[in-house]
Symmetry: D3
Subunit: 316 residues, 6 copies
Amino acid sequence: MFFHVQRMINEIVADEPDPAAANALQEGLGGQFGEMRTMMQYLFQSFNFRGPTGKPFRDLLYGIGTEEIGHVELIATTIARLVDGSPRYQGSATDPLDTPGAGGANPLEMALSTGNIHHYLVGAQGALPVDAVGNPWSGSYVYNSGNLPLDLLYNLMLESTGRLQKCRIYEMTQNKTARSTVAYLIVRDQAHENAYAKALEALGVDWGKLLPIPKTNAEKFPEVKTLLDQGLQSKQYTFSLDQLSEAGRIFQGDSPSKDGTELTTEQAPVGVPYDIAAERPEEFGPGLDADLLALVQATAEMEMATAPGAWGPVSS
Amino acid sequence: MFFHVQRMINEIVADEPDPAAANALQEGLGGQFGEMRTMMQYLFQSFNFRGPTGKPFRDLLYGIGTEEIGHVELIATTIARLVDGSPRYQGSATDPLDTPGAGGANPLEMALSTGNIHHYLVGAQGALPVDAVGNPWSGSYVYNSGNLPLDLLYNLMLESTGRLQKCRIYEMTQNKTARSTVAYLIVRDQAHENAYAKALEALGVDWGKLLPIPKTNAEKFPEVKTLLDQGLQSKQYTFSLDQLSEAGRIFQGDSPSKDGTELTTEQAPVGVPYDIAAERPEEFGPGLDADLLALVQATAEMEMATAPGAWGPVSS
Amino acid sequence: MFFHVQRMINEIVADEPDPAAANALQEGLGGQFGEMRTMMQYLFQSFNFRGPTGKPFRDLLYGIGTEEIGHVELIATTIARLVDGSPRYQGSATDPLDTPGAGGANPLEMALSTGNIHHYLVGAQGALPVDAVGNPWSGSYVYNSGNLPLDLLYNLMLESTGRLQKCRIYEMTQNKTARSTVAYLIVRDQAHENAYAKALEALGVDWGKLLPIPKTNAEKFPEVKTLLDQGLQSKQYTFSLDQLSEAGRIFQGDSPSKDGTELTTEQAPVGVPYDIAAERPEEFGPGLDADLLALVQATAEMEMATAPGAWGPVSS
Amino acid sequence: MFFHVQRMINEIVADEPDPAAANALQEGLGGQFGEMRTMMQYLFQSFNFRGPTGKPFRDLLYGIGTEEIGHVELIATTIARLVDGSPRYQGSATDPLDTPGAGGANPLEMALSTGNIHHYLVGAQGALPVDAVGNPWSGSYVYNSGNLPLDLLYNLMLESTGRLQKCRIYEMTQNKTARSTVAYLIVRDQAHENAYAKALEALGVDWGKLLPIPKTNAEKFPEVKTLLDQGLQSKQYTFSLDQLSEAGRIFQGDSPSKDGTELTTEQAPVGVPYDIAAERPEEFGPGLDADLLALVQATAEMEMATAPGAWGPVSS
Amino acid sequence: MFFHVQRMINEIVADEPDPAAANALQEGLGGQFGEMRTMMQYLFQSFNFRGPTGKPFRDLLYGIGTEEIGHVELIATTIARLVDGSPRYQGSATDPLDTPGAGGANPLEMALSTGNIHHYLVGAQGALPVDAVGNPWSGSYVYNSGNLPLDLLYNLMLESTGRLQKCRIYEMTQNKTARSTVAYLIVRDQAHENAYAKALEALGVDWGKLLPIPKTNAEKFPEVKTLLDQGLQSKQYTFSLDQLSEAGRIFQGDSPSKDGTELTTEQAPVGVPYDIAAERPEEFGPGLDADLLALVQATAEMEMATAPGAWGPVSS
Amino acid sequence: MFFHVQRMINEIVADEPDPAAANALQEGLGGQFGEMRTMMQYLFQSFNFRGPTGKPFRDLLYGIGTEEIGHVELIATTIARLVDGSPRYQGSATDPLDTPGAGGANPLEMALSTGNIHHYLVGAQGALPVDAVGNPWSGSYVYNSGNLPLDLLYNLMLESTGRLQKCRIYEMTQNKTARSTVAYLIVRDQAHENAYAKALEALGVDWGKLLPIPKTNAEKFPEVKTLLDQGLQSKQYTFSLDQLSEAGRIFQGDSPSKDGTELTTEQAPVGVPYDIAAERPEEFGPGLDADLLALVQATAEMEMATAPGAWGPVSS
């Protein structure tokens, strides 16, 4: 069973809208090596896991898989911000044919020449479950051979490829909104790369100087360096509410990246609150005219019927 | 951000393996109207939501979306059990070419004539992210127009179609493992159908006698009737840890299914613990020989380095 | 602009349900060389046609394309009949869990082992826009190079391949419903093969003894022989209401199949009336309980508000 | 059976070529919510229809489905005009390497930076069966559950989404060719939205103020307003040649859009004649050199062998 | 540039036709981890290779990629034999409707219930570029990150997964034709696994006891054991005609599988001649009637105009 | 069995990088009518060939199929050169964030606005197995009906379509690297078109003046004219090492293109040596830092253990 809190796993820095950067980030969301894939791959490996003696491995998969749902949320929200409006445009709140202001173009006019017209035409300036050339995410991406060493090897390769692609995305754009999320995911991908590499060490592999991949250069990205200095590449977060996870038996000791750090497990981060995006009249989103809005308001004014109590840790 | 507990959202009743039933259930997992789709559709609608005045609607989407992750877990685990082994077969623990016992066929020999040979050949007798004819799940299924009335209408239709298909699956098999999960999802689909129908009532629609869809006959399925008698079709669960959800403002009052019940919101269910599946030597899963197993044991004997504290409710 | 009459282009002979034959026929409907493809390919070639001097070629494409819509209707309806119920089963009109009668199995129980479970699970025992292994029809099938000789060559090859596959389907089943439609389409495919071959003769090609493809053996199929004796392989039908088609300038003279016939153009066939299929309670189709049925009846009893006049030929 | 007349269902206003607008319109042709989908979905629902008492519903589906074939023709032809050449370019009739004129670029040189290079490379400056990001149309789009209320709900949602997307396309371009067709389809989508909404009213639903979707703003588009003033959003056309359609039993009474109009049924529109597009030497389309052209001319000079009579209404 | 000899890379043992086994083998041909994928992945990695100092790595990729083309030939030919006819059936040479003999069923009648009806309906009892559930091979399978360590890691995982799946296929069937090819590919996959593992050893990795994957059990398959005893898992073949390959610099020394063998490089195997398959009248394959056959014979009787000389090694 | 030499089948002329031209060429590599398709189609037709009397036809297919592997190599390498870097950019060898020089843009910054961002983001400035709008190559492209006349007709149409598209690509770009390869393939496509046309002449067809397609204009492209003057459109190369090919029995006599040439068979061309591409630090390709490079060097310094002898012609 899964739970949710209304907090983003990392802060999304504000900057101008940038649909080209948003489109590059789609690879990190819906691409073959993006967050939807890591999330689904680890969850399927968890659901289908075999071998009771391997519980620490399964718990590691479940834990990282759960974190990845939050990464999907983070990168989707980042993309939504990047395609929300266009630089310096202030449209009318009621007229979808509104002439754009002096300093910017109407987003729908820009749509014809951006990376993915669907951001404006099919969605309403939000994220899509597709990659950077518009291919929809596919279940055929999920790898789950049921052979533990192979699943771990693939996961290691998957995290490294995700990190490689995100380093390339970082270089493609100067936009701070894009870079803040990309840098965070670069470092967390490295943490997960370490996790799978360590799990393979438990099966006897010595990685020598191979890790991390790519290496030596990502620290030159300032946002990445800040997070590396905080040691985020060597932390495993606990998103397990019931203290039953044994993932920490694997994620401990020297980092297989041989950067001199120790692997440690921690509570989930506190997270960052975030706002609901504004309406977009040119997209008919959400599409409530005065009458419908009045009906919604009426609903909002009713007493809130529910009073859910706290949901603390469960003892099995 | 998302969290996990090691409990299944509903109990999976034990019965014989049944790969044909498992394959029918794949439609409910990876089909166009299955749980992976509801989960992803509601989450994307939540991430991209527009209009601060619509917070109760967004929270409803987030809440149901989070429950659906647990449904994906439930139906995937159910499928994994249904394709795990074959009726009455007791294979050797070490020989993948083992001659099957008197009462059953080796699962890999059966694989050539089952619904989806990939259950045995690509996976290791586990669930796959595909539908009942083997089409991989696709991101193109996700509908998120950004227009609130349309998104709600689609969601209502999606839940009703999911329920229609599960009623058909129920009729296709007598297997108790399959029916226990299918019956549960039939009733929860109805609860979500009610949620979206109610949200549209808030925008002025009166459904007359149209709901639920399909109608009148599903109560003839005994497992469904038991759950309807418990009122599960009229409950919204809270999977929100931080008490910030305003979904209850919508999900209240008379059920739009006009079955005489009141809609109410409740804590998430306590859930059911479950075991890790056994090894399958014929699948080389997990694939650890004596040497590798010894390495894993060595790891397991290390002290568990982590001591994660409780993760209670967050105040914003 | 297109028009419709409530008549099938050819009679569908009655026989037992036969889901395996139905599935083979899906190739002829939604396969890469099936009727949906011929219809769409010729219509796109018509819409995008270049070169005013080539009007007879365009009109030939428009004419065959329009006939193909009726072929899609014919083969889809044939498939729907073949998956409607199971041999000798008489189910209850109200109970989807009804125990099957002595002489037949409940269709939904059979669904697990038929060619395409979607016929019962996603559709309600009806035709699907997919091929015989379940691949959805794809727009990537449509070939329209804009180069007239190439488009004609491809169309010739397309018709011949369609005919080849239908001859193979004929051999796969004894079912009379399936064979009546397959035999008709074999002969009409040959007529269209002749049309494109003749059009290429107008560009200078002499086919020698190559056509038709496949050859010599299809006449051994009795239903095919009957239609060949009627000369249906050498007739072009006019589905053009406005007498503006110049297709007859091409489709005339000796048949390129060199079977001794003349190519001639005729009025569209009169067609055959057909019934609406019965309800299927186990599919919840159409799904109207007593209340909803009463509402529909009320609608049906209203005066029919429309009195459309005749739609005769238009003069340009 | 289906018929054709050589007239476009609505006039396509002339303007400059505009490949970017053409590409946006591809969503309306081959997109998930475009005209190919509505056409195929309603035709499949008609072919597979169950329940003789529901004949008016089936006839409504058949009628709208037939109109949609004409919409496919309209929007495909519009796209073909929009990608035919480039602004102010006058190429040589014989040389594909011709230097472009002073005022415009050679279309093939532009192809590298337009929305879909396939318009020039795979097709010959014509429409393609794909969406605005190049995904081929897929049979998996067709929804046909066999449950009448669900099929009607989906169809309502489908028309509304199509209309929503076309309103967005309208805002994306100033091109008059594009806008004339988009505006027409916006209003006809609304008519079909009304048809399905009315059919659901026959099953007891009261839509309140929800329809049409999107609302309030589309009338600000001048071309749309003109058509709304003519009442095209409240008319059902009869494309049935045999007077057997009972669709008018449903499509009557007050509009569910509550705009004060009555729903009425009418003869099909007279339509608009149109020309065959010119040759494009740079595309080798149609590709006839002097010799081949002479052969075609020879064919054209032959007597037209056919003299098809009028095809009037059929009495069943 | 590539060359061909008319010899199969390994012998295909004769046995009865077996369409179910053939279908399982399709995974090894056109599946996500089959031979078409290894071939294409290594060739693309070769074409796009970067870094002149890495020539031995590139040559290794080119060499294995070239061998894989021969593997595609081997497994496709094996499948073609397995679907050629049905057990004990002797059909007439001229009549496609021929009644099957006493001991076997007509292959086309069997087609309705075999793994992939396309083997009989779309192809003419031959191999298809699809996997075991009918998904067409996709270019999206090809992994080529351009980062050498990652490409090598993926290739290692790819070979191991291919070997895992082939071990499962071996267990699924007793057919000797199928097993002879599967066993050969199991051992060659292991050789390639060793090649990529050794290449990673050159980058510092020590694999401990992890390889080969899967382990310990495949030697229990008798055909596999025979080949292992010959040391085929530790040989790299040279398919390079010009002696420029430096692959042997990597493929040498102790096997990373730690089975006590040395890695060695050898000439390509001599190969095995093979016959052209017989005609199949029920498939209209090749489809030559008496007239066409006479034309072909006439061609065959002409003098062979070519006299190609020997093509020996090239000196650069 | 297949072999390789380290020589390109034709010279690739040097010019500036040009990602837009590269993307157009992708259609010729991974498009529906590109070289991967011709290669795979002819190889599958060879593997599945039926009818021992047809050996010259099969050998023709095998021969052209083998040449096509070399064409895939040629066009992939051409694309890789065209996306390698950006005009006049000289980046730092070690810093992926390096500021571009005065004369050119950093390739990764350009990536956001090029034809296919995957060239930079998923690959490392290399070719991809996709078409010009990013669709992955699909096994569903392969046509192999098993009916010889149909397979030959399709192959003729396939080569002509490939040639048509390449003529359009030629017109789209001035880049010499692109044009040198495109021109070569235009002429070789014509040779293969002639081969299949001649094979159909052996079955009795007389093509009149239809071929080649497209016609009359391609000779106006200077690079094409040079090759036509050398007669490359009328030569069949022998890539068969064992002198067993009987393809020359078909490919002889007057060209079916009726250009006055004789068809002749020749040895494979000698080919052109080529260099390995340089490293790209901004892509982390190949990704070896100082440590890893030292390890590779150590490997390179070992004695080359292999001494492969010459691989001459085999006598059967």
